[in-house]
Symmetry: C2
Subunit: 282 residues, 2 copies
């Protein structure tokens, strides 16, 4: 598979180049953060989705992890150089990675990016079957506990990967985390949108540990601009049959209607799904 790798201060490097030392804290401690941005190439032109918002989130992750402020101009230049060299038609994932760097020879953060073709999300955008999995935390567990790193896109992502493996093992497409007090949180790599009472809803990021999803933000902002109410609220799975539908939203995979949750068929509207996807740029 074609991929493209670039390193801050060094530019493009051959894919499969070894870049990170054995004592890099990003490797040994998951101590760092990332962001994932969609790049679309059509008619030979590359488009980067919502880069400003992603870089704002990148800055928030940096501050929350006590890493040195990142060089935004340098990152924008590196991204531009990489995207200019990317010519694979279709959708790709631009991943930005920043770690605390070497433990034994401290020399500042490790900073690199990759571009790889996105997995085909056509089917997921038509509908996914999901299961709920406990996140092990109550809905207020992340209030006043910044050391728990709630709502950050850290490199310590193994639980999300394990939850997706568990979903697949149970024959589902994806998981949606729930709190120990029974409320929906988010999918391992996607935020949540619910339509109900002619308004849009998402799960609260404050106190819950939910990551602020760029795609959800874009959809909610567009709704408000169109005069549609867009709010945060806690929902239980049992509330969903009385809504107009549940979607999970990812910068890469787009807006995916959840057609079935824990074996229960959920309300579904093709029209609403099309509208939300278009709003998000998919």
């Amino acid at each position: 598979m074609k991929q493209l790798v670039a390193v801050m201060g060094r530019g493009l490097v051959a894919p499969n180049t070894a870049l990170v030392t054995a004592d890099d804290l990003g490797l040994t401690r998951g101590d760092g953060y990332y962001d994932a941005v969609r790049v679309v190439v059509s008619d030979g032109q590359a488009r980067i989705d919502h880069l400003d918002r992603h870089l704002q989130r990148f800055a928030r992750s940096s501050a929350a992890l006590d890493l040195p402020v990142f060089d935004e101009a340098g990152w924008r230049a590196l991204i531009a150089e990489a995207v200019a060299a990317w010519d694979v038609p279709g959708e790709a994932v631009l991943k930005l990675v920043r770690t605390r760097g070497s433990e034994n020879s401290p020399n500042g953060p490790t900073e690199l990016l990759t571009i790889t073709p996105a997995a085909d999300a056509t089917k997921a955008r038509q509908g996914v079957r999901a299961i709920t999995l406990s996140r092990g935390t109550a809905s207020d567990a992340f209030a006043d506990t910044p050391w728990l790193l709630g709502g950050l896109k850290t490199l310590s992502h193994a639980v999300n990967s394990a939850a997706r493996r568990e979903a697949v093992r149970r024959g589902a497409d994806d998981a949606i985390f729930v709190t120990t007090d029974g409320f929906l949180l988010e999918a391992p790599t996607a935020g949540v949108i619910i339509a109900a009472d002619d308004q849009l809803w998402t799960t609260p990021t404050s106190g819950t540990g939910v990551l602020p999803s760029i795609t959800v933000e874009v959809v909610m902002d567009a709704a408000r601009t169109q005069g549609v109410g867009a709010h945060e609220a806690l929902f239980r799975p049992a509330d969903l049959p009385d809504t107009d539908g549940l979607w999970i939203a990812s910068s890469i995979r787009g807006v995916m209607p959840v057609r079935e949750l824990d074996g229960v068929e959920l309300p579904f509207s093709e029209e609403l799904t099309r509208h939300l996807a278009r709003t998000a740029g998919f």
Copy 2:
């Protein structure tokens, strides 16, 4: 600082060699595990502490993360080669790291080790001041939730690092995590031992997410051999003034008496501390 790096299938490599690609899942997802073993060099002889127990834990981590079974003979040979080349007198950390490997060019796990001098733990072995920090989870949060990866030494370690930064920020030496229902769990990189009623106690690993600590296991096994009761139980910080003391125990830093927790002075016995440390091989 002197350090030593070795890679499975390749042997010793120069320190600071770049070894890991930008798309290694250990780097981008914290998707892998590690173990840390003390090596002591004295009179030109290197001793590895409790390697069998550490490799058993390594195997458990592997299985829980659905990684391919690790080549124990190969790892033992790599460890022997590295330790034979290590000649720095005093205590060192042998760190074993195993990741899910490259995401885009899957070629099996990334497997490497490092040996570095241990930080001086002399002062910590005389006593630490700790604060409690919420772990965000109740004491039963990890029962029947294997996807939460409780009790595993995964590379997704950022919360532990953040908790130690928070402790230092508050003027303490270390943190001890507590559950949302108020029970002691473990320190970010150390298990817990409590002496009370002429017996030894540690925090339960089942259901709590507490990592089975090799040092705690060694101490508890030795106690049982000597006819001293050694059990698991949940303790609240408020229980501690009525005990004979609290220690945190690490394979590298040894058995450290907690002299003060959240500003409250705790019972302390120099004799018990010496006994526990000796039992653990420190």
